[in-house]
């Protein structure tokens, strides 16, 4: 429905709310109004009038609140009256809700949810900077100012926090495990950022390289008894080779076509892993993947030589987790440093130029095929490193870990963070992976929250959280390039 005019008189608002009610009834009539049950021989239909009625009433109340708090009609004229109406609105559906649940706790939850929505609407209204109170606008300006001045230190502060995390008093095994997972996704996000954010090639099959890295390490370690530190570069190299092999046929494709084909390649790798039983052990996966050693010292109770004996400290299983944490932290920082340096080199500039305008690149003598392949290969290499780490951390891998949803999550991290932004990927990975863990109690509603978050981001920050592009070279001062000028790339 279109946004009604700001100066809607009350009649128009009433009509709009009524129309919303009719639409909601039509939509939910069969979805919620009738419960179908498949009993042998027939289909049992149970009407659920209270559920339907309360849903429609809540939708109408929400619409009224949207009018009162976000669109700000001129009628009723005063702010207090509008807020009063909005505060009364959630009470209207109470009768139906009461008939439906009949439980004071759930009623309280419902009211809390509605008033939270009211508060959110009001905040959004002020965030648009059109409210009568300029205080929020000033606060926003101050925040931007603060970011301009101290933003460049933010990354350093994060690194210090990340280095100190294992020794914080509140850190336990659970926090370390979650942090390792977050760091793995940060690394994958940074790797994919090269392909999607810098070169502008939409890759939906990034998990393929993650899988190649994981299986390369697992097979090299279990068959040839190569240590983690020898197998890690080999796995990265193999993943890069696969990046080139997969890159070649898809280079002629652009945009959506490229996305679909890369998605298919991701699936092909997974299906090969399932079916090539003699090599990969198929769906049973590979188990007993060796753990990494610390300069030859093993981090196990009975290792020879073992870490705790060498340093004369009592054995603790947390040592190994801390060690893994530092490995992935180092790998992720390596990814970041190399990417940042590459951006300032001709090859990195060529990636970004390719994203901006491929034809102009060719007119300037840039071999676009090779440039795209280097982006694919280097992105894949970091994916391979992350894959080997994943294999050594889990000790067991199977094709189930490399489904399309992984590619989607990594891509979501890159898009959410702001394509091409390194710090954006960190924020997005912490919010998405860490947040996902944090709300484990919410069970299936987690997915709902996740969807809401995505929709919200697409509405308010369609270019991601951090959108400004930092120039790779400057004469006098480094000015960030606004996101509306930066192209997203055609593949």
């Amino acid at each position: 429905m279109p946004e009604p005019s700001r100066t809607s008189p009350s009649g128009v608002i009433a009509k709009d709310v009524a129309l919303t009610g009719v639409l909601a009834t039509g939509l939910f009539m069969f979805l919620l109004g009738i419960h179908t049950e498949d009993v042998p021989g027939t289909l049992l239909l149970t009407p659920r009038p209270w559920l339907l009625a309360s849903t429609v009433a809540i939708v109408m109340a929400g619409r009224l609140m949207l009018h009162m708090l976000y669109w700000w009609p001129s009628d009723p004229p005063t702010r207090n009256m509008r807020i009063a109406i909005a505060l009364l609105a959630p009470l209207a559906p109470l009768f139906f809700v009461w008939m439906l649940v009949d439980d004071p706790v759930e009623i309280a939850l419902y009211l809390a949810g509605m008033y939270l929505l009211a508060a959110a609407l009001l905040v959004l209204r002020y965030a648009r900077g059109e409210g009568p109170s300029p205080r929020l606008g000033i606060a926003q300006e101050k925040l931007v100012d603060f970011w301009d001045r101290f933003g460049h230190m933010f990354g350093g502060v994060l690194v210090v926090i990340a280095c100190a995390l294992p020794f914080m008093p509140f850190t336990d095994r659970y926090i370390l495990d979650v942090s390792i997972m977050v760091l793995t996704y940060i690394m994958l996000g940074w790797g994919l950022n090269i392909v999607v954010g810098l070169a502008g090639l939409l890759d939906l099959g990034y998990v393929a390289f993650y899988a190649v890295g994981a299986y390369s390490y697992a097979l090299l370690a279990t068959h040839f008894e190569l240590s983690f530190w020898v197998a890690l570069p080999l796995a990265g190299l193999l993943a890069a080779v696969w990046g080139i092999i997969l890159g070649f046929p898809v280079l002629r494709l652009r945009g959506d076509y490229l996305a679909i084909v890369t998605l298919a390649f991701g699936e092909i790798i997974r299906i090969v892993l399932i079916n090539w039983y003699s090599l990969t052990n198929g769906p049973d996966g590979i188990s007993r993947i060796p753990r990494p050693s610390f300069f030859g010292l093993e981090l196990t109770r009975r290792g020879d030589p073992s870490f705790h004996d060498f340093f004369g400290i009592p054995y603790s299983p947390v040592h190994r987790i801390i060690f893994l944490y530092y490995i992935i932290l180092a790998l992720a920082l390596l990814t970041n440093i190399i990417t940042n340096r590459l951006r300032k080199l001709p090859v990195g500039r060529a990636w970004e130029a390719l994203r901006e305008d491929e034809i102009a690149c060719r007119a300037l003598g840039i071999n676009t095929r090779n440039t795209k392949l280097t982006a694919f290969a280097i992105g894949a290499m970091f994916g391979g490193f992350a894959g080997s780490f994943f294999a050594t951390r889990q000790g067991f891998i199977s094709p189930e870990s490399f489904t399309f949803i992984e590619s989607a999550i990594i891509l979501a991290i890159v898009v959410l963070g702001g394509m091409g932004s390194q710090i954006g990927v960190v924020i997005a990975a912490v919010v998405m992976i860490g947040g996902f863990e944090l709300f484990r109690e919410l069970e299936q509603y987690r997915m709902l929250m996740f969807g809401l978050l995505m929709v919200g981001i697409m509405v308010w920050r369609p270019r991601g959280l951090i959108t400004a592009r930092e120039p790779s070279v400057y004469l006098k001062e480094k000015k960030a390039v606004s996101a509306d000028l930066v192209q997203e790339g055609q593949g």
Partner: protein
């Protein structure tokens, strides 16, 4: 016709033909562009001028004919056989586009750095020396920045070096695109309607820029243009195209008075008709 005699033309186009299915876009076209000359290609819309450019720069593969480019040292490149990026890199042909194609999200300076991609990639030893920060690469990069600065001063955009290219006014974008092509150190510069959409002042600045490039850089400039004030003022040599055929070729003075050209393209002043 009275084409200006030159010792070694940089560009020789001979018997160039380009067919798209049944459509003959260019029909047996021959012309040359000499060093230190501005050669203009004019003609009505759809005459095939941009197609000629796309054949020279390798974006189209010509159906028939030969396009030869001769460097100072005598090396010859047959452009009809090379890929677009090889033409730009090895034969050193720079071009601009009718609808400006800058890297809008990159700064003005970055645009000029991308144009020096190939020498820099070479100096960075395919990114390895660059990653390690070796001095050889840093030296080359400084040279590249110096060259970019030189051109920015020339197009009077030095103060906007750190602004995104898409933020520049239209006329400045046109000049930046020319500077970007010049940063490749081309021997042949192809400009596709550089004066389109410029106001008289900007178009005058463009003339000055092109004349100074001709005076200082010892390259051949090939120009497609509809703005006769630009064409007649700065070009040394004009070829006129109509329906893919060359209908005239010669000095601006000759073209201005050629009845074929007047009939096909230039037209006559209203009072002359009356």
């Amino acid at each position: 016709m009275n084409a200006k005699p030159t010792a070694t033309p940089i560009l020789e186009v001979s018997h160039l033909t380009m067919r798209f299915g049944g459509l003959v876009a260019i029909d047996d076209l021959s012309f040359t562009a000499a060093r230190n000359d501005i050669t203009a290609l004019i003609g009505p819309n759809g005459a095939g001028k941009t197609t000629v450019f796309n054949c020279i720069t390798g974006f189209y593969k010509p159906t028939e004919g030969m396009i030869a480019l001769t460097h100072d040292d005598g090396t010859r490149h047959l452009l009809e056989r090379l890929d677009d990026h090889v033409i730009a890199r090895r034969a050193r042909v720079g071009r601009t586009f009718q609808n400006i194609r800058l890297f809008g999200g990159m700064t003005v300076l970055e645009n000029l750095m991308v144009a020096q991609h190939n020498p820099l990639v070479h100096a960075s030893k395919f990114a390895i020396a660059g990653l390690l920060g070796l001095s050889g690469y840093r030296e080359k990069e400084r040279e590249a920045v110096e060259r970019a600065k030189h051109w920015l001063e020339k197009i009077e955009l030095i103060d906007r070096a750190d602004d995104p290219a898409a933020d520049l006014p239209y006329g400045a974008q046109r000049r930046l695109e020319i500077a970007r092509a010049m940063c490749m150190q081309p021997v042949l510069l192809c400009l596709d309607e550089p004066a389109a959409g410029l106001n008289p002042r900007e178009s005058d600045r463009l003339n000055q820029l092109l004349l100074s490039i001709r005076a200082e850089e010892k390259i051949a400039i090939l120009l497609i243009e509809h703005d006769m004030s630009v064409v007649m003022e700065i070009s040394d040599h004009i070829a006129v195209l109509d329906y893919g055929c060359k209908i005239s070729d010669g000095s601006p003075e000759f073209i201005r008075n050629d009845p074929h050209v007047i009939a096909a393209y230039l037209g006559v002043e209203d009072d002359e008709v009356a």
